[in-house]
Structure formats: structure tokens, C-alpha cells
């Protein structure tokens, strides 16, 4: 019988994480939502306690409130992106990043509202624009607004702006710290609500708390990674331009991960480098402590990554994500819909079902543009022997003699290939956003409840 020490040598799989029970996940999510509401309300609680400043008129006081609210929302983003597993667990890290994007837009709109009310009704209070002549605290406010607007716009439009991922990450970090720092300087400089020394101390404490979260993700986490390196042991061509890198732990294996989850991966670089990417782990926990990441060269750093030589040192940080069959322990079967390299988290889930000899039926609809784009074809076909897997291969441009389906994933195609009994099964979608969006709409049209449709957000930035 293997003892615990054999885990490190790779002779026994790392213990998989326990299944997520829905009531526990919901309770966890509710607690986090309450915590978030508390974090948003905190500045207002501080403002309203102790000595209050005199009124300056309804519109102006509302504008100040919008400013504080925008700052609270902006500060919350440090927590949402701080790689805190206990925070992302119930929602899935992909959805938390999506919320980060939406809430940042909301914070920017509130900041603009704060500025606009002053600009329209109290323009003299804004002073002059020239930073050499203006009050420094008002310049700090304008700097914060400009930095935050640049932050949101460069994140939303990174690709049209042709900003390389790595350069954008560095810019994002700098702009975020400048925007938050300038906003806090603005609040303390204006000082209308923070004249009281206790309130100033509390404000500084809150700011340092948010910066501590940033320090956690950018310093503590990489430091831990540096002490627990991984090694690339294989690089396989899977077809369709996808390469699988297999990594072996040199120290501790990844603990408590579920099929379909992803991890941040940096290869051949310091873990403090910003050149790391979120990639799905394409194998299942049951396969052992080695992790496989399947990567398609889509530009930026990925072209370099797929050429990684075995022996290269790597760093892994995870697991994250909730796109897992382990979230649906009660399901009678699964429908999985993949587009292109979106197959990777689905493959991981299939590997897990396969390793567990799970008898439940699975229908996989796997869409690609051409036959050459299909990845893991033989692996998927081989799984059909041990798993109740129906494989529906869809090509947009099929070659002569193609045995599968030709066309795009739409209502008619899904109606034809999904059994009527599958409507209440979990439907797991992963691929380019237009494809998953169209598939989700078609599924709803076919009578699949929204709660049974889960799309992994594929393109985080």
C-alpha cells in the first residue's frame, strides 16, 4: 500500500477535491455577497460616524457620495483580482473576472457622475485645470479619473488597441495603483469628511488593506511559487495547432483541484514576471500529480509557449474555476459543447468521468472550422469505448467524404443531435463567445432551463 510520501514521487494521484454540494456553494456565495456589500458600505459608515460636515447642498453632497461610492467599488477590484481562492470558489474565477470588468465600468460611470455634477453646478469649486496652479488635491482627483478611465478602456479594448497581453498587464497594474493612490490622496486632501484624525487613520488603514491584497497576489503568491517549482516533462502535438505541455511537480503537487479548472502558468520565467497566463488543466485529478496544459498559439506569448522544450522550469498557481462535472453530482447525464480550443476544460471533465468509470451518458458537440482544426480527435474517439459518450463533430468547412456534421451550432443542429431526455442535464459550453452565446440561446429556445446552462468565459482579457 502506498504511503503519503509516494504522492511526491508521482506514483499515486493527488487526492481529488470533494464534490461541491449546491447548498454549501450557495451559502458561501451569500456570505461573500454580504461581505462585498459591507465593503461598499464601509466608507459611508465612516463618513456618517462622529462629527459630520455641514451641508453643501443636495447635488454637491450627492456628488461627493458618488465619489466615495466609486472609490469603494474601485478598491473592491483589488480583492476580485487578488487570486483569493475562497473568494472566487462559489462563482468561478472566470465569472469573478467578468464581474471585475462590469464593476470597473460602473465605478468609472460613478466617478464621471461625481465630476459631472461639480462641472455643471459647482464649476468654481473645481478650480483651474493647470496642475501648476490648481490645488494639488483637485489635480489628484483629475489624475485618478484619467488613470481609471485609461485602465477601463485599455482593458475593454486591449485587442483593437493592439496592446500585447504582457505589456497590457504591466500597464494595468501601474494604472490601478496610480488611480487608487491618487483617489485616496484626493479624499484626504479635500478633507471635508476626513478632518477627524480617527477618520484619516481609518481611511489610510482601509487603503493599506487593499494594497495588502495586491501585495499578496504580486509578492507572496510568486514567492511561494518560486519555492515550489514544476518541470516540463513532455510537449505533445495534439493536432489543430494545439500542444499539450505536461508538467511534473518538483515539490508539492497541486492540491484539491477539480476537472475543468484552470491555473496560472509561467514557463521559463520568474514567478514574479507578469508573463503568466491562465490555462485550463486538460487532464483530470485522477491521472496523477502531473498536470497537462493544452495551449493553442493565438498570438502574444502562446507562440513561444507551444515550443517549450522538456526540462524547462515552470510555475503554477491554482486551481481556479467552477466549470466542473463535480458541481453537478446529481446530474443524470451531461451535454458538453466545445468550440475550437474550448475543448480543453471539457476534455479534463471527460477524463475525470472516464477515470471514474462513470456510467452517465455524455453528448459532446465539438465544433471547428476545418478538419485540420480538430484537436484530441483520437483521444476523444478512444474514450467512447469506456464512456457512454456520443461524439458529434461539427465542421464549418467539411472536406469531401466527411462523416460528421457540416454547418454551425444552431437550434436545428442541437435539436437533431441532443436526446429529448437531456434537457434537464447540465449543459457545459466552452469556446469563442459568439459560439457559446448562440449555443446558449438555442438551448434556451429548446427548453433547457438557464440554470442548466454554464458557459466558461474563455477570453479573460
Amino acid at each position: 500500500m502506498a504511503d503519503a510520501s509516494t504522492d511526491r514521487q508521482g506514483t499515486r494521484p493527488a487526492a481529488p477535491a470533494p464534490l461541491d454540494r449546491a447548498p454549501v456553494v450557495w451559502l458561501h456565495a451569500t456570505g461573500l455577497i454580504a461581505l462585498g456589500a459591507g465593503a461598499l458600505a464601509l466608507p459611508f459608515v465612516v463618513l456618517m460616524t462622529g462629527a459630520r460636515p455641514p451641508s453643501q447642498g443636495l447635488a454637491r453632497d450627492f456628488s461627493v457620495g458618488l465619489g466615495f461610492g466609486a472609490l469603494a467599488l474601485a478598491a473592491l477590484q483589488f480583492a476580485l483580482t487578488g487570486r483569493l481562492r475562497w473568494l472566487t470558489h462559489p462563482f468561478g474565477a472566470d465569472i469573478v473576472y467578468l464581474a471585475h470588468r462590469y464593476l470597473s465600468w460602473a465605478a468609472l460611470v460613478l466617478m464621471l457622475g461625481h465630476f459631472a455634477i461639480f462641472y455643471i453646478w459647482h464649476r468654481p469649486a473645481l478650480g483651474v485645470l493647470n496642475p501648476l496652479e490648481a490645488d494639488w488635491e483637485l489635480t489628484a482627483g483629475r489624475l485618478s479619473l484619467a488613470a481609471f478611465a485609461a485602465l477601463v478602456v485599455t482593458a475593454q479594448f486591449r485587442k483593437p488597441l493592439r496592446l500585447a497581453y504582457e505589456r497590457w498587464r504591466a500597464l494595468h497594474l501601474v494604472l490601478a495603483v496610480v488611480a487608487l493612490g491618487a483617489a485616496v490622496a484626493h479624499v484626504l486632501g479635500v478633507g471635508r469628511f476626513t478632518a477627524d484624525p480617527d477618520k484619516r487613520a481609518l481611511w489610510l488603514g482601509v487603503t493599506l488593506g487593499w494594497l495588502a491584497v495586491l501585495g499578496w497576489s504580486r509578492l507572496v503568491v510568486p514567492w511561494r511559487q518560486a519555492r515550489n517549482p514544476w518541470r516540463v516533462v513532455a510537449n505533445r502535438d495534439e493536432g489543430g495547432g494545439v500542444h499539450t505541455l505536461e508538467l511534473a511537480p518538483e515539490g508539492r503537487p497541486l492540491r484539491r483541484w477539480k476537472p475543468g479548472q484552470f491555473a496560472w502558468l509561467s514557463i521559463g520565467r520568474s514567478p514574479f514576471s507578469l508573463k503568466e497566463h491562465p490555462f485550463t488543466i486538460s487532464t483530470a485529478p485522477e491521472r496523477g500529480p502531473n498536470l497537462s496544459f493544452s495551449i493553442k498559439a493565438l498570438g502574444d506569448d502562446t507562440a513561444r509557449l507551444i515550443r517549450t522544450a522538456p526540462g524547462t522550469r515552470a510555475h503554477v498557481h491554482g486551481p481556479y474555476g467552477a466549470f466542473s462535472v463535480d458541481r453537478a453530482a446529481d446530474a443524470a447525464g451531461f451535454v458538453m459543447i466545445a468550440g475550437g480550443v474550448g475543448i480543453t476544460p471539457i476534455l479534463s471533465n471527460l477524463h475525470a468521468l472516464h477515470a471514474r468509470r462513470d456510467p452517465r451518458p455524455v453528448v459532446l458537440v465539438y465544433a471547428n472550422r476545418t478538419e485540420d482544426d480538430i484537436a484530441f480527435r483520437s483521444e476523444l474517439e478512444a474514450m467512447r469505448g469506456d464512456l457512454d459518450l456520443t461524439l458529434v463533430m461539427v465542421l464549418e468547412q467539411a472536406p469531401p467524404g466527411w462523416q460528421g456534421v457540416t454547418g454551425r451550432i444552431d437550434r436545428a443542429l442541437l435539436a437533431r443531435h441532443l436526446p429529448p431526455a437531456s434537457r434537464d442535464w447540465p449543459h457545459m459550453l466552452c469556446g469563442p463567445a459568439p459560439m457559446t452565446g448562440a449555443a446558449a440561446a438555442a438551448l434556451r429556445d429548446l427548453g433547457v432551463p438557464s440554470a442548466r446552462i454554464d458557459a466558461e468565459v474563455f477570453d479573460l482579457a
Binding site: L47, D61, L73, I95, A106
Partner: protein, 31 residues
């Protein structure tokens, strides 16, 4: 509700909540 729609609903709720707090602050200072 799927996770994506939940995220949209939570973000909208958070924004409305913050605007309500700002309005509450203004109203409490201008009774």
C-alpha cells in the same frame, strides 16, 4: 440562473446599492 446572468445581476445590484448610499448620504446631510 446561470453564472453569467448572476454576475450581471450582482453587478447591477452593487451599482444601485452604491448610488443609494450616495443618495442616503446627501439626504441625511440635507434633511
Amino acid at each position: 440562473m446561470d453564472r453569467h446572468r448572476l454576475a450581471v445581476a450582482l453587478c447591477l445590484a452593487a451599482t444601485v446599492f452604491v448610488v443609494a448610499l450616495a443618495a442616503g448620504l446627501a439626504l441625511s446631510l440635507n434633511p
